[in-house]
Structures are given as structure tokens and as C-alpha cells.
């Protein structure tokens, strides 16, 4: 079973630059109308942490919710 993750976006820190969305291999992140990022497809997060690494505003946390390695 692959890893699964739960993405949490701290909206007050997010500036909506979309860097996270670009680096997300599963393309589960998107820009909302209000200029903040949102998780459009939470089921498909694989907890790779690319978004955490890439967010220049430290606005993203990923919790590993399933790890059967």
C-alpha cells in the first residue's frame, strides 16, 4: 500500500502562488477564487511532502494517515 497523506493549508499564511500545485505529482492542489490554495482532491495525496518543501510561505502541513510500508 502506498503512503497516504492529509494536507492542511494554513490560509492566513498562504499567498496563492501556486508553487505547491505545480510540484504536486498528483495534482491535487488548486487556487481558489479568493486567492488561497485548496486541496481539491484529498483522497489522492501520497504524502510525498513536495508541497511542504516547496511552499515559500510555510503554509502547508502534511500528516501521514496511513503507512503500511
Amino acid at each position: 500500500m502506498p503512503k497516504k497523506g492529509k494536507v492542511e493549508i494554513k490560509e492566513s499564511w498562504c499567498k496563492g502562488c501556486e508553487i505547491c500545485a505545480t510540484f504536486c505529482p498528483k495534482k491535487i492542489l488548486g487556487l481558489r477564487n479568493d486567492g488561497k490554495m485548496e486541496v481539491k482532491d484529498p483522497e489522492n495525496c501520497i504524502a510525498c511532502n513536495q508541497c511542504v518543501l516547496r511552499c515559500p510561505d510555510y503554509a502547508i502541513k502534511v500528516e501521514v494517515i496511513e503507512n503500511n510500508d
Binding site: 492566513s12 499567498k15 508553487i19 505545480t22 515559500p56 510561505d57 510555510y58
Partner: protein, 271 residues
């Protein structure tokens, strides 16, 4: 890594524009400090003036936001007055390569134990987009409305020649590598210089056909070339390229250690 241990989280979000790379470089520095296991009480972060120089305000150490171009001078006083401190300088391409260039080369020459991280976004961001000594040739800026005719400085070559113990250049795009350079720099006694190519979508990108942060990161990816590969290319082939990697790695004796020896010998001579 615990955010609260190293950041003043109540000061966040930081002032940098959406998509600015400086947040990534600041995190890279903090990760380096964490990897070194340094006591935050013994870490002093000094900056000059400009976008990059706002970083220390967010970092939970002894932090000093000085005047334009002179953070290395202040840092020299701090390190010499108390060599136990880990002294990091955060500067930019205006602060470090233009007004502060002289201090940079002399700190290299002394090989004093200061870790300089230069956030190179190729533009004066704080003053809204004038060309800097590290703006690529041909770039548009508010003060080069017809394209920049000045060649950019290669501070990695300069600091290597001037005697720094460690010199490297990384990019925000190749973030894990940048992390490793900063960690290596922090592990060195003596002077280190790490240049982090960062992106300024607001004042550089928009004027230079890279409207989004992503296009700027793409530019970093496309134009970067490893120093080992770069050795086989001539200057014409390297024009406009970002040479990344480790430029210098040596273990020459650090300045304050030499000064402590001087004190010992002077005081010993009195007996």
C-alpha cells in the same frame, strides 16, 4: 523540525510577495542550523537592507537588521568580540555585491568564521526593480528600460579567489541541493559564501517575460549547469547560465582562532 523553535511564528506570514523564493532560502538556513544542532542562543543572524535582509526578523535567534551593505562589517565585530557565536549574514545581490562588495572580499581574505548566504534575485526588489550587479545582461529593469548592458558579477569566483573556506551556488528550484550546500557551509570553520538563486516574480519576472513564479523556477531549472559540466564549456557557451555546485572547499585556519593565538603569545611573552 519544530517551527516554533527557530521562527518567530507570530511575525509570519512574511512580507515577501507571492511566489518569492526568499522564504524557501530562509527555511534552508533554518534547516542548516537545525542539522548543526546549534543552540539558538549562540546563533546571531545579521542582515543589511533589502528584501532578503528582512529575514532575520522572522528568525528566533539574536538578530540584527543593520544598514545597507554593511552586515558583514557588523558581523566581523560580533564574531571577533565573541568567537563562540555562530554568525550568519543574510544579504542580497544589491546589499552584498554592490554597496557591500568590499566587506565581502575582505571577510573572505581574513577567513573569519562568518557564514554568508546571499539571496540573489537579480534585482533591487525593495526599491521596486532597479538593476543590480547580478542582473543578467539584456534584462529589463526600471533603471535599464532598454535592457541591461552591464555583465553580472560572479561572486562565487570572486569569493573563491579572495580566500573563503567554502563557496557554493544553488537555486531555489534545486532546493535539496541548496540545503546541502548551506549545511556544508555551516559545518566549516572559517568564512563561507553560499549564493542562493531566488526568484522575484514581481519586479524581475514580470518585466522579463516570466509572469509567474513557476516560469521563474522553470528558468532556474533550464539555465542551471553543474560546475563539473561547466568546466568543459567556454565563456560563450556559459553566457546566461547559472553555474551551480561547490566552488571552493578548504580548511585554512579561521581568523578569530589566529587572533586567540596572538593573544596567547603576546600575554605569554610578558611572563
Amino acid at each position: 523540525m519544530e517551527m516554533e523553535k527557530y521562527f518567530r511564528v507570530d511575525k509570519l506570514p512574511h512580507i515577501w510577495c507571492p511566489g518569492c523564493g526568499h522564504g524557501s532560502v530562509m527555511m534552508s538556513i533554518v534547516k542548516g542550523i537545525d542539522k548543526m544542532g546549534w543552540d539558538p542562543e549562540k546563533v546571531t543572524v545579521v542582515s543589511g537592507i533589502g528584501c532578503s535582509s528582512r529575514a532575520p526578523g522572522y528568525m528566533n535567534f539574536n538578530t540584527l537588521h543593520t544598514v545597507h551593505g554593511r552586515p558583514i562589517a557588523f558581523a566581523t565585530g560580533i564574531k571577533l568580540a565573541n568567537p563562540e557565536l555562530h554568525v550568519i549574514v543574510i544579504t542580497g545581490d544589491g546589499d552584498g555585491a554592490a554597496i557591500g562588495g568590499n566587506h565581502l572580499i575582505h571577510a573572505c581574505r581574513r577567513n573569519i568564521g562568518i557564514n554568508v548566504v546571499l539571496f540573489n534575485n537579480q534585482i533591487y526588489g525593495m526599491t521596486s526593480g532597479q538593476y543590480s550587479p547580478m542582473t543578467p545582461e539584456g534584462s529589463m529593469a526600471t533603471t535599464s528600460p532598454y535592457g541591461n548592458i552591464e555583465p553580472p558579477f560572479d561572486l562565487c569566483e570572486l569569493t573563491r579567489s579572495a580566500g573563503a573556506n567554502f563557496v557554493a551556488r544553488g537555486t531555489v528550484y534545486h532546493l535539496p541541493k541548496l540545503d546541502s550546500y548551506i549545511e556544508k557551509a555551516f559545518g566549516k570553520e572559517g568564512f563561507s559564501y553560499v549564493e542562493a538563486i531566488s526568484q522575484c516574480p514581481t519586479y524581475y519576472g514580470r518585466r522579463n517575460k516570466m509572469k509567474t513564479p513557476l516560469e521563474m523556477l522553470e528558468w532556474q531549472k533550464k539555465n542551471s549547469i553543474d560546475i563539473k559540466k561547466a568546466r568543459d564549456l567556454d565563456s560563450e557557451q556559459l553566457k546566461g547560465k547559472i553555474i551551480t555546485g561547490i566552488f571552493a572547499e578548504r580548511d585554512d585556519e579561521e581568523y578569530t582562532a589566529r587572533y586567540d593565538q596572538l593573544i596567547k603569545s603576546v600575554q605569554g611573552g610578558k611572563e
